[in-house]
Subunit: 388 residues, 4 copies
Amino acid sequence: MQDLGVALIGHAFMGRVHSHAWRSVSAVFGLSLEPRMTIVAGTDRARTEAAAARLGWQHATDNWQQAVHRDDVQVVDICSPGDSHAEIAIAALEAGKHVLCEKPLANTVAEAEAMVAAARRARERGVRSMVGFTYRRTPALALAREMVAEGRIGRVLQVRASYLQDWLHDPQAPFTWRLDRARAGSGALGDIGSHITDLAEHLIGDRLDGVSGQTATFVDSRPVPGAPEGTRGEVTVDDAAVFTARFAGGALGVFEATRFAAGRKNALRIELNGTDGSLAFDFESMNELWFYDANEPNTTAGYRRIVVTEADHPYLAAWWPPGHGLGYEHGFTHQARDFVEAIAAGTDPEPGFEAGLHVQRVLAAVEASAANESRYTRIEPEQSLQNP
Amino acid sequence: MQDLGVALIGHAFMGRVHSHAWRSVSAVFGLSLEPRMTIVAGTDRARTEAAAARLGWQHATDNWQQAVHRDDVQVVDICSPGDSHAEIAIAALEAGKHVLCEKPLANTVAEAEAMVAAARRARERGVRSMVGFTYRRTPALALAREMVAEGRIGRVLQVRASYLQDWLHDPQAPFTWRLDRARAGSGALGDIGSHITDLAEHLIGDRLDGVSGQTATFVDSRPVPGAPEGTRGEVTVDDAAVFTARFAGGALGVFEATRFAAGRKNALRIELNGTDGSLAFDFESMNELWFYDANEPNTTAGYRRIVVTEADHPYLAAWWPPGHGLGYEHGFTHQARDFVEAIAAGTDPEPGFEAGLHVQRVLAAVEASAANESRYTRIEPEQSLQNP
Amino acid sequence: MQDLGVALIGHAFMGRVHSHAWRSVSAVFGLSLEPRMTIVAGTDRARTEAAAARLGWQHATDNWQQAVHRDDVQVVDICSPGDSHAEIAIAALEAGKHVLCEKPLANTVAEAEAMVAAARRARERGVRSMVGFTYRRTPALALAREMVAEGRIGRVLQVRASYLQDWLHDPQAPFTWRLDRARAGSGALGDIGSHITDLAEHLIGDRLDGVSGQTATFVDSRPVPGAPEGTRGEVTVDDAAVFTARFAGGALGVFEATRFAAGRKNALRIELNGTDGSLAFDFESMNELWFYDANEPNTTAGYRRIVVTEADHPYLAAWWPPGHGLGYEHGFTHQARDFVEAIAAGTDPEPGFEAGLHVQRVLAAVEASAANESRYTRIEPEQSLQNP
Amino acid sequence: MQDLGVALIGHAFMGRVHSHAWRSVSAVFGLSLEPRMTIVAGTDRARTEAAAARLGWQHATDNWQQAVHRDDVQVVDICSPGDSHAEIAIAALEAGKHVLCEKPLANTVAEAEAMVAAARRARERGVRSMVGFTYRRTPALALAREMVAEGRIGRVLQVRASYLQDWLHDPQAPFTWRLDRARAGSGALGDIGSHITDLAEHLIGDRLDGVSGQTATFVDSRPVPGAPEGTRGEVTVDDAAVFTARFAGGALGVFEATRFAAGRKNALRIELNGTDGSLAFDFESMNELWFYDANEPNTTAGYRRIVVTEADHPYLAAWWPPGHGLGYEHGFTHQARDFVEAIAAGTDPEPGFEAGLHVQRVLAAVEASAANESRYTRIEPEQSLQNP
């Protein structure tokens, strides 16, 4: 089998998860190409070398350009902060490397547009690109997508989606780069609001027409860890963002992203109500999909808890017997598998950079609305959200 | 013990529930005044007499004025449709009768203002008035109110409230007066959105500063039951309404009221996130309050399910042992009790008509915002939401 | 409509609940006979009179014989402790009164046999009798019964039933008559184990063949409230009882009754597994029935939460709209309704005293097994569990 | 770092899971010794080689002896059916290899005794052995163990444990070796009943004194897949097993293992009730532990859902942020880590073969009781369940 050399850029949380996926994907799924964990790039040489040793990468570098341009690298996997995405992705694509880029695709619409342009040019040459809206590949959500597509809940009329975390609810929680607009682009909105935006559109197969938003920053500054006593970092991003929305097809949506929901650890929740039924999901119980079939007789209808661990469920045939649930990182393994197989097949993987750009436009529209008395703000449609 | 003659106006769903409350309240709680089920008023003589016989009212009339002006009536309990509230309530107050009026207080802000004026004049003469935001007296929500007031979740920063029903999700569901703006004022917004608006403000003890809303009518007309084949009633109210909101104290809110959430029967849900914890409730599990105490150590913190059936919980000492839960109508029994005791004590019951008017202003602001590109719309503060 | 005079014996917890049912049943359901709350009997004159005034009984007495023999009494409703059941019920039946007797039917098999004999003699004369296994009339459980009978879960192979309470888990909880074998017959076994025994047999429509049991008394003595400091009452009943069982048709059962399950307030739980599906119930969420349809395709099968509040569900047409749940006492209202209607129709209500005797035999077999190294102990079949 | 060569015996379900653990453990935890996936042994050469290639083992053999005796192998990991455990484990221990053996330790008490004897001899020479009761290392259950040990629920008085699966509920489900007593030893009892037996004892820190059991085989024969039409395999093991139990310290237990609980996929459930609180767990929601603190005031006490994903929770520091849950196979990674670290530290890992033998004695006692009218059957205590 042919090798596929991977260069990983970044080895923090996301880098660790991606490493886990690259290490496991072939054994779990059996692939058409054999991914090799060739090199990891970081900013600090010593720490990057330690990460390489621990995570199983053959080489380490503190120079991402070097990693990107190696001959034995065919895939560049970008897990560095958002402000570096555009430069790295464009360089990699131009060097003919397939690119998997973490979300949000970029920190600004302009960057994302440049990335899409590069991806389109590269596509002409058979070079693939993908943005890491990984939750699409959580089996329960992949099943939801299938069920909507099969018409199991009819025409979707309402969507309520929230992504609730709580790591900032304590006013003394420390400052991090994620609270700095220059590095992170936005706060809860971009970090986790991007996920529910992509998911909602993906699940119902329709795009947002416009949004009306509000954002809030509850705590203005926070202590900087490691800095002299009393040093505080200014919080320049939103702590929470809420928006109502209209889909092109008429569905009504409510969205919320927050880091202040005390007790909600990673509650990515989405509920779809259609003319023939409903679907509901909460990532804190990620192996379950709730389905209400409105065509059942009244007396026996009810939200049913589908334990999404059957061999017939998306991705599950490769894993364990029913009831032996999957965890967070499995979505990344599925993503790695689908990306590799798309490369092998010479097709464009989903979601492409266009989807990443589109989400960026939604985030920008939410911010624009919030800055303009919450006025309804339309989102410019991409020519195509799907790959052409 | 002194009698308290009650006249009930209306004997449909709400009238039945109120009858149940008047029948039971004295035996359950032991009251300072003894309510008598004196007379029920309806629009059809025969049906009203049948209702009186069935529900236990001594007299029946198809002339509400007659009921209101009887000497043996001290309380007028208004359960008729919203477009009749103002006239009846004002007449009753002017006749010196204590008035309990179902929500929403009226169909328009102007009517509600007139009712408040009448209530204030009557209050000078010791005549009491109350609006039926009954969910405040669901024990789990009464407990939530106490816990917020005691500071158990600190300063509340976020509120998410939804009231989800599904009786219209089928496009063939029949037309009713509730879908006619002239009778009902508005749709899901006024009928059930009013409840979550009042509850959110009541629970956190703060008022809404402004809202940004969207409404939707998914099905424009529906078959009229009993009418000739093909007759359709035009739906002139919202099927669903969503709004984001800001509270005067800075908290951020998301609200949704809908009749299209297939599978959600009466899911009044509210979650409050504070600096020190969270509270969550769903009326479909009405005997439970979920509490997250953020001051617990990380390792043992978790949302706890308080089964609100202990003798120390609000209203529970009068009922059954722990775990032997209450049902929907018990909130009305609690309301009747508190109203009677306020009359006996010569104090003003909560919530007064001012609270009803305020909610009316919020509903009007949501509609105004929805009609104006969702622009943020401020709500004029009442001079006092509490009774003076 | 003809009156039906009721005499209530006992006005503690059960007496209060039954009073609530008698007060409401006619208004809720509309009955063929009109129950009158004629007289309540207690042991203390003053307290009984106070109870009568509060609960709405026309007369009071401290002499139950007097109540039972009144001409204006047609129904005797026995809510006194178990050691008084036999004497009162037999006297009432012989006096030609219809008898509703709380469970357990008696404290011993011998007493229960005498009661069944009296009931059979009375039945000849058109006098009705019923034992208060009220949970059969919880709508979710009545629905479960219907679904099993319709074959929705196929042949039932396994039953797991538990009734978990926690009011004794604290070793300092006070002594009560319920811990005295002479008054109560047994402990958790008879008090709550009797309910799950009856329910399991009722739901699957089969009788227990035999049991293998163990019982435990974790706290030997407890402080007597109101007695001089240091006075302790000896606990002569079980704190918890567990047994495995075999049904006549081959199904396997596991049962547990306990007052020591800290945090479980009134968790009557029962799950049935059949060849075609499963049903599960927990009284702490009494408006829900969980149903697994094994004939659904693998990919969309799941336990569904039926919110048992639809007009088509048992007893629900008389109550509130979907999602507006019922509470604990409603089962007693349903029981009163079915008892009155059976009297009116001249039919025997279910469950009759035979069912009460049968449960008594099961309890005795559990105790016999526990006393005999848990040896499997067969239960003598009644000639008929159903009324003849 | 020093290498640790591993030989895996068996590459079916368990072999795959163990492979996943060996592949990941070092990257996740950073270990004191570096495990190498040296060789996998199977019964069919071609299939074993394919498995080696897929799962990442350097060599393959159809001769387990060869694998066991290689110089570059220090660890033998036994994942073959139960009837092969004793021979392989004893040979490996005698060859000086550390042994990790899947549960149940053996198919009979006699085999298990021989294995313990071998393990004890080997232990003298510093050779380590461990039995795979992996669920002990599910973080939520490891946390439960810590909380019991810290006294958070006081003295444990009751245990209810069940392991519910449904893969046999369909009478047409195919025959497998797991239904053949000669290969599998017993049915649900040994396969999954062994897990809850070990867990219950482990969690409360006490051993079972005796049991009273019943077993059932609901379907006597099943179609043999791949065999000529009409060939049926005789089911010679239990489909379901239930037993009540007494612990040495007086606690009362109820246990159930079944493969017929339609809709329950892998519902390993355990609840402990103590004098000061309760703990509850269900593997279908494996990242959650429910805790009831009986020392909380009545008004705010409730079962709390601890999402066991905090860095302070057992094993979690090595994984993902809060709320990003783990899956089934992670327990095996934890097991591999603890086994390697015990080898490195020269200490005996838990649970040792003694624990495996003890569980075997419990299973045998359940079967003996079931065969003897469910009579209470005592379990001979090991001299030590803990390693000496």
